[in-house]
Symmetry: C3
């Protein structure tokens, strides 16, 4: 299926330079796009590749449009944010190529009579939906998902195959949860009594707002007494662990393998690199960016980028530096002694 | 459902100060409890909040009871370990609110005829139980779980939805396994032959004792030849990886994202902070506490707290310190040179 | 079932010293093998144990055979690579003990009419296979697996219970995927527009070659536009995260909890210790070995071992060294000042 450039402008804005009736059938990188496809220039380093692309049309910024000059003969879609424009166009083509969703409940699904399933929702094979759960309009619940009693899934939300969404939890509209994710497992809470652990029941919920995406095999624990909260637009990658009673601010994004311990309060518009960790009960301000592999051990109240991982080296070199690290406090003492001695020499010399 | 304070004392002990016939209908934090509820004071910093709580009764220690004075007018349950007392009371209320478990096998479950399922056990929708597996009395196996051939599940054990429990593995009584956990996957064992890897079959089991809790999406590998052992009372959070042939001592607790490599032997009463890692074949003594994000690379034979992660800093500051870390062995050499030079100056001056 | 030593030599080579007709019924470690079993000596430290083993026969190298001398009276299988020989023998015994696989499709499975399932393949209970998927000969797909539309599973490949294998992805022959693994989830790709994230559709696939093993709860994301590639013989442990558009070279092995960010290109014959991390868009040469817990932040173009983690210490000692680490750039400045001062003193003294 092809789309006229004029239709793209009508949908997504931007300035068209070229033939409004030109049809494009897909979008591809500069070096792979065919003459029937659209492409995009978002990285200035690829400007030379843009001059040589075969694409019928190119999405680019005002400044890149000027810099590209007339070496490119195709049509141009000029926009302030060409990467976002690319994303929207790619979504449009992907939606056209997606298999049609058939509303209705697969005969092998087990849906409690008290559950409320919108007639436009699609419930896949071997799905289990328990008492009083609610699934909104146009929701797509793929094969093998579990939705616990009283849980609520918003309109247009998509659970990929084999998601676990436990009792009482809620997710808003247009959410995406990937396979293997577990939402609403018990938080890790115990009281210690003479060495043994007594379980503290976890009776809160996980409350997820609109437009949240949650990656494969990611876990979000339910709150102990109060709820775990995920605000709108949060994006979580795969293999992430969010502890009980965390509060993740809107539009914060976390890369794979991040761990957030219980009761941490994370601001809006933050980013976390892969395998970053946050200890429990900390507060992180808005617009804080944590580098990959960094351990956050205190609250961060100012925006900015924070980092803490040991730099990589050839193993033999690491062995040497690690040996020094182990003795750094002795080294500091040596330097203090040296300073004293040198000061004393200097004073004597000046007498 | 409400409970008389006298009944709580009868069940859990403690000293009651106040009306034994007072009814409480639930438990909540100091600032959220209603006048029909019980609350608890376990953190001295919240003493002021205790003075203002609306709760009908408060659980607290002997010393806090004295320090609180007469600013609080409600009933008091005084106990040596108020946090453990709170946990038990919360369990009681949670059990009352939990949905009734219906014994029996859901018609959509596939249970091998040779499997032995206690008549009081509950087997959920789409569960698969293979040949010769055993499920004990009052066990609750929720929707979509898999129990492999010859595996054994003890009495009163609870598998949340979508647990995988592989062939031959065993778990004792009162266990809890959360969704997505995989018990008994193959250990990672290969022989190398001219660069390629030849699989070493993993024919051991995972043997889990009583009162163990295992978090969502946590994995415990089966042993290669001998078994992987998890002793009683161990508590594992989410996203943990336990390698083949590990032995985890009783009442040890591990927070999320911990990784324990194969054949590690971990003592009793240990704790591991989130994302702590232990290399293979190491021995960790009883009562060792590993901080979050720390890598254990040698055996630890003495109890105590051990730590090893790079301290977080503003990225610009980290860049500076990391550059020094990379050159620490050169810096040590410089200091040695300085020491020699200063010593030589001192000696000359003293001649 | 027992096997003649002559048959082992016929299958796997090696030099037999002893009775070719001797029957062995299994393989076990030196100290556990019975007089009806085979054992193996691959670790020189266990030579003394070899002298005392009860095993009927022992697999060992040419040099260990000479060093062992005549203290061991049983038969010997001498081979250049006794560990690989052990692995093959253990595979043979394990295959004999494995339950028979029954070809055919379990009646509870939901298989799309357009899917092509080899008649020798075994499809377990509650499996879901979607339109146009292909499952090859002798493939074993255990209970609860999901195979998306158009996905292809090669001959003799084994999916343990509850694997998710998404639409369009492919795996070759003799593959093994463990429970809970998710292959083909969306990559983590978003364009930022005024703080909010716009999803970039992930339309590539995951293409996995022959003889690949993938651990429990490991995730491999599909490519954004191009594919994610896993070459032949790659071995991935549990809880690993492989980002979109990664390319993992043949025979590379990764231990548990490793994370590889998007578009990283990893060479052949590499090894990654547990919880090692690689940032996105990096290139790692062949035969690079990354130590556990190390963060790779730049491309590595030379083979070798690389390391980067903070050394573990008693917490009190770590507190002291960490305090110095935070001030390392100040310490460097102090040393520079000292050097200047000492140089100036030396020059004055020499005047």
């Amino acid at each position: 299926m092809s789309i006229r450039l004029a239709e793209l402008v009508a949908r997504f804005g931007g300035q068209l330079i070229g033939d409004a009736d030109l049809l494009v059938s897909g979008i591809a990188p500069l070096d792979q796009a065919s003459s029937a496809q659209l492409t995009f220039l978002t990285n200035p380093k690829l400007r030379a590749a843009a001059a040589q692309t075969k694409a019928a049309a190119i999405i680019l910024s005002v400044s890149e449009n000027a810099l590209l000059g007339d070496v490119y003969a195709g049509a141009r879609l000029v926009d302030d944010n060409p990467y976002a424009y690319f994303a929207r166009v790619a979504q449009l083509f992907a939606a056209q190529n997606a298999p049609a969703v058939m509303p209705g409940i697969h005969p092998s699904a087990c849906v409690a009579p008290s559950a409320m399933i919108a007639s436009s929702a699609s419930i896949g094979a071997h799905v289990v939906i328990e008492h009083n759960a609610v699934v909104g309009s146009n929701a797509l619940i793929e094969a093998g998902c579990f939705i616990g009693r009283g849980a609520k899934v918003g309109a247009d939300t998509h659970f990929h195959a084999r998601v676990t969404f436990q009792a009482g939890c809620e997710i808003g509209a247009r959410g995406i949860i990937h396979s293997g994710a577990v939402i609403g497992s018990d938080g890790f809470g115990f009281a210690n009594e003479r060495g043994a652990w007594i379980k503290i029941p976890q009776t809160g919920r996980v409350m997820i707002a609109d437009d949240v995406e949650i990656g494969a095999n990611t876990c979000i624990d339910r709150g102990a007494l109060a709820d775990t909260i995920i605000e709108e637009g949060v994006k979580l990658d795969n293999q992430i662990q969010i502890g009980h009673n965390c509060h993740i601010g809107a539009h914060t994004a976390m890369a794979g393998c991040v761990g957030i311990a219980g009761s941490a309060v994370i601001g809006k518009y933050c980013t976390f690199g892969g395998a970053a960790m946050v200890l429990g009960h900390l507060t992180i301000a808005d617009k804080v960016h944590i580098s990959s592999g960094s351990m956050v051990t205190r609250s961060i109240l100012e925006p900015g980028q924070y980092t803490g991982f040991y730099p990589l080296a050839k193993n033999a070199d690491w062995e040497k530096t690690a040996a020094v690290v182990r003795n750094l406090s002795k080294m500091r003492e040596k330097i203090r002694q040296l300073e004293k001695t040198v000061k004393s020499i200097t004073e004597k010399n000046n007498e």
